[in-house]
């Protein structure tokens, strides 16, 4: 009896304290902790960061980003020529590159990868939604094969941001043979030319990749790359501390002191290419009847469903800007992992206007402005609060609560409104909100991808708006369009600076913060470089 009890005690303690890891010295395996699982694994058919971060290591495009910047360099295309009028780009493709399934990379693969997205007649068009194409690449009219290793991209209008857009995940080249083999299930069997090959995907648990032995560059230094899903940031950190994983994304800002105090961990932090803001519905938008994404003269301005008298007044919006202590929010809620924003795009981008002076935190002045605007006793307003954390806004409900109490101090009563994320986007795009929290992470590093899509008049279409303040300034839109259609960098910067002045003065937004992107690795992991677009390239990474 006693011996039996003892053995039970031993067994239990073995379980509790048991040896967890089996050292496998011969193979270099890197496990990375992600906050969520992948939606699908077709690079042209995803919109979420989690899916993108996996595919960055499986697929490649014609061009790619320089490490840590949004400058582009050749990848699957060795070189390219842009025609005089800026409407045709000819790409000369790299020879001798093979997909993971052993088939050749060539012009057919490029045409296949693009045409399936824009041509409804294409047999593979039905297998995806291709959301990004209409939004980023609609200026591309068609892609033509010239010979086996030359393709031509024909644009309907010159577009200064198209080359950086081609480095995006959407423009990655997929294997046509693989697509034919798996048809509608190809999203589960990704096959590209990148440094890692797909091995397995266990839902909500992990995705395993292995080194591509036939990679056209040098073989990656690690043998296996595993992305493990651990949604809770605290749980991720604990797994990292005990060495169950080697790196993680989105650490909890509250845990930074703990991370810094741990000699085995390295906290990487860089300014992110994003903006988090509160938008105030200024009242009017247009219905994009012909769905061309542009406000045409025959599409008049009309009241948005969330039209709210006080917010149509510039003084009220300026007062709200002055009533919120952004510094405190960045310091205590973002816990210092962000910088205070004064403009609608991050400071390191082309055309950022640093001369603009931000609205100061001044509740007294705010009350005065409210009184001048005719609301000495304030008013009651509804705030849409995002139900999810995004890279541009950490913990929106807390930020919403802080804003609620700041505005209460100047007499404005804020009611919370929360819905699920999909409905949230739908309602705000339709202008049903009075005020809303939102933000943006840059796709390609071009200022057009911030200023035009977020603050332009064309983006005020009710139902598909990106301009959530419904800021309908025509002069502003003119500047933004001119900037997109010219390839002259200095002129573009000038247009953008002027636009930011207008945006600041009319105060449709309270620009809160540019969040840093943060990652934590174990000390023995080397070579990872943070990318402004938050994409994750593990090719140069090694474990020492």
């Amino acid at each position: 009896m006693r011996a039996k009890r003892l053995s039970i005690v031993l067994l239990v303690s073995l379980l509790v304290l048991g040896i967890t890891t089996l050292g496998l010295a011969q193979e270099k395996i890197l496990v990375f902790g992600n906050s969520g699982d992948v939606a699908r694994l077709d690079p042209a058919d995803v919109t979420d960061g989690e899916s993108i971060s996996r595919m960055d290591n499986i697929f490649e495009g014609l061009v790619e980003y320089e490490a840590g910047s949004t400058e582009i360099k050749p990848c699957l295309a060795e070189s390219w020529d842009i025609s005089e009028d800026g409407k045709e780009i000819v790409f000369h493709l790299r020879k001798g590159v093979k997909f993971h399934d052993g088939t050749d990379f060539n012009a057919d693969a490029v045409v296949f990868s693009f045409e399936r997205q824009y041509n409804p007649e294409h047999p593979y068009h039905q297998y995806g939604e291709w959301s990004y194409w209409g939004y980023m690449f609609s200026d591309i009219d068609r892609v033509e094969k010239i010979d086996d290793y030359t393709v031509k991209l024909v644009l309907s209008e010159p577009n200064a941001s198209i080359m950086t857009s081609l480095a995006m995940f959407t423009a990655c080249i997929v294997s046509p043979a693989n697509a034919e083999k798996y048809k509608e299930d190809a999203f589960r069997h990704p096959c590209g030319t990148g440094p890692f090959k797909f091995v397995e995907w266990v839902k909500d648990d992990h995705i395993t990749l292995e080194a591509n032995e036939n990679y056209w560059r040098e073989r990656p230094k690690i043998d296996k790359l595993i992305f493990r899903v651990i949604p809770d940031p605290s749980a991720r950190l604990l797994a990292l501390e005990v060495g169950e994983i080697h790196g993680m994304e989105y650490p909890n800002p509250a845990d930074f002191d703990r991370i810094k105090a741990n000699p085995d961990l390295v906290l990487m932090s860089e300014p992110g290419m994003n903006i988090g803001y509160m938008a105030m519905n200024t009242g009017y938008g247009y219905v994009d009847a012909n769905k061309n994404g542009v406000k045409d003269p025959d599409e008049p301005l009309e009241k948005t469903p969330g039209y709210f008298e006080p917010l149509t007044k510039k003084k009220v919006r300026q007062a709200i800007n002055m009533a919120i202590d952004k510094e405190a929010i960045v310091r205590d809620i973002y816990m210092g992992t962000a910088s205070v924003a004064k403009n609608g795009m991050p400071p390191f981008m082309l055309g950022y206007n640093d001369e603009i002076e931000d609205y100061p935190y001044d509740p007294e002045k705010a009350k005065e402005l409210l009184a001048e605007a005719g609301y000495p006793d304030g008013f009651e307003v509804t705030l849409h609060v995002m139900p999810v954390s995004r890279p541009y806004m950490f913990d929106p409900p807390k930020i919403g609560e802080a804003i609620q109490s700041y505005l209460a101090a100047v007499g404005i009563k804020v009611n919370f409104y929360q819905v699920d994320w999909a409905t949230y986007l739908q309602e705000t795009e339709a202008g049903m909100h009075q005020m809303c929290l939102l933000g943006w992470t840059g796709d390609n590093g071009d200022p057009d991808n911030f200023l035009n899509v977020l603050y332009g008049l064309n983006a005020c279409s009710i139902g598909t708006a990106g301009n959530y303040a419904f800021y309908t300034n025509e002069e502003n839109q003119e500047l933004l369009t001119k900037a997109l259609r010219t390839y002259d960098v200095e002129k573009r910067a000038e247009y953008y600076k002027k636009a930011q002045e207008l945006i600041h003065e009319d105060a449709g937004w309270v620009f809160l913060a540019h969040s840093n992107q943060n990652m934590v690795f174990r000390k023995n992991v080397e070579g990872f470089v943070l990318h402004p677009t938050s994409r994750m390239f593990f090719y140069p990474v090694d474990i020492k």
Binding site: A254, D255, I329, D332, I333, A408
Partner: protein
């Protein structure tokens, strides 16, 4: 036995049931907190402008604690104790409303079903069967997803989800009472259905309603907190216990355990109190039901 002596007999039995008395004391204390929150809470549960710099300060056990906040502060620098005290209001109201909805629906359908029988009974009981085919919380989650988030909607959802349970209890009680002789007599002397239901059947079903209502109140408070925890219940800045927990459990690793621990204890205590009270009431009232 005349009415008065039944009453005093019950009271005597209740007084000897120690755990029931203890449950009652907890509940009275909670109700007191809810009513007197304005006077007993040491701080404003949502100060304006916010005292962000005060965030995540420990409570009385530490020298670095925020002054005047015995249970420490949460991620926005608010007093945890004050929010828990105001939270009794939210949770008790939510529980009572949910149970009230469940009772109104449950009693209506239970009486209809039990008293009239036949096809009415068949239809109602099939619907009850269908609703019983779902785990209660899952059904509540889906209903909240349909009608939208928010405390009021969570209460309604929970009330609806609990109603079939109540309907079954009432039905069986009605079936039992219906067979009694004096009801037959009432029918024979031509009393109307409504008179019989309101004057005779309902008053005799009070015991199970009270017992199961109390126990249901406990689970209603739990489920409301669960919805709050999943972000489907009360909206900020409402100090709802489940939402407070969800708000602050990400701070545990960084050492700020208090903001998530104490709201949970509040839930635990109130549920415990109601369970004790409910069990006690059952013990006291059950013999009478058997008579």
């Amino acid at each position: 036995m005349d009415k008065e002596s039944v009453g005093s007999e019950l009271l005597r039995r209740f007084k000897y049931n120690k755990s029931a008395v203890f449950g009652l004391i907890i509940m009275l204390f909670m109700i007191f907190c809810a009513i007197a929150a304005n006077f007993i809470a040491p701080n404003d549960p949502y100060p304006s402008p916010p005292l962000l710099a005060n965030k995540l300060k420990p409570g009385f056990w530490s020298d670095e604690g925020a002054p005047g906040m015995p249970l420490g502060s949460d991620g926005l620098g608010r007093c945890v104790l004050s929010r828990i005290i105001y939270g009794t209001r939210v949770s008790l109201t939510a529980g009572f409303v949910a149970v009230a909805i469940a009772m109104i629906l449950g009693i209506t359908f239970g009486v209809l079903s039990g008293y009239f029988g036949g096809w009415i009974d068949a239809v109602i009981m099939r619907i009850v069967d269908i609703m019983f085919a779902f785990p209660a919380l899952l059904l509540a989650i889906v209903i909240v997803a349909v009608v939208g988030q928010g405390l009021e909607k969570a209460m309604i959802a929970i009330g609806i989800v609990y109603s079939p349970q109540m309907a079954r209890i009432i039905r069986s009680s009605v079936l039992y009472i219906k067979e009694m002789e004096y009801i037959e007599v009432q029918k024979a002397i031509g009393s109307s259905h409504w008179r019989i239901i309101f004057r005779h059947i309902l008053p005799n079903s009070i015991a199970p309603v009270v017992v199961y209502g109390t126990l249901m109140l406990a689970t209603a408070i739990l489920d409301c907190a669960a919805l709050g925890f999943l972000g489907l219940g009360a909206q900020p800045p409402t100090p709802e216990w489940g939402a407070m927990l969800a708000d602050s459990y990400s701070f545990i690793v960084s050492g700020a355990w208090w903001a998530a621990t104490f709201p949970g204890i509040a839930i635990l205590l109130s549920v415990l109190g109601l369970n004790l009270l409910g069990d006690g009431l059952r013990d006291v009232l059950d013999p009478r039901l058997k008579q």
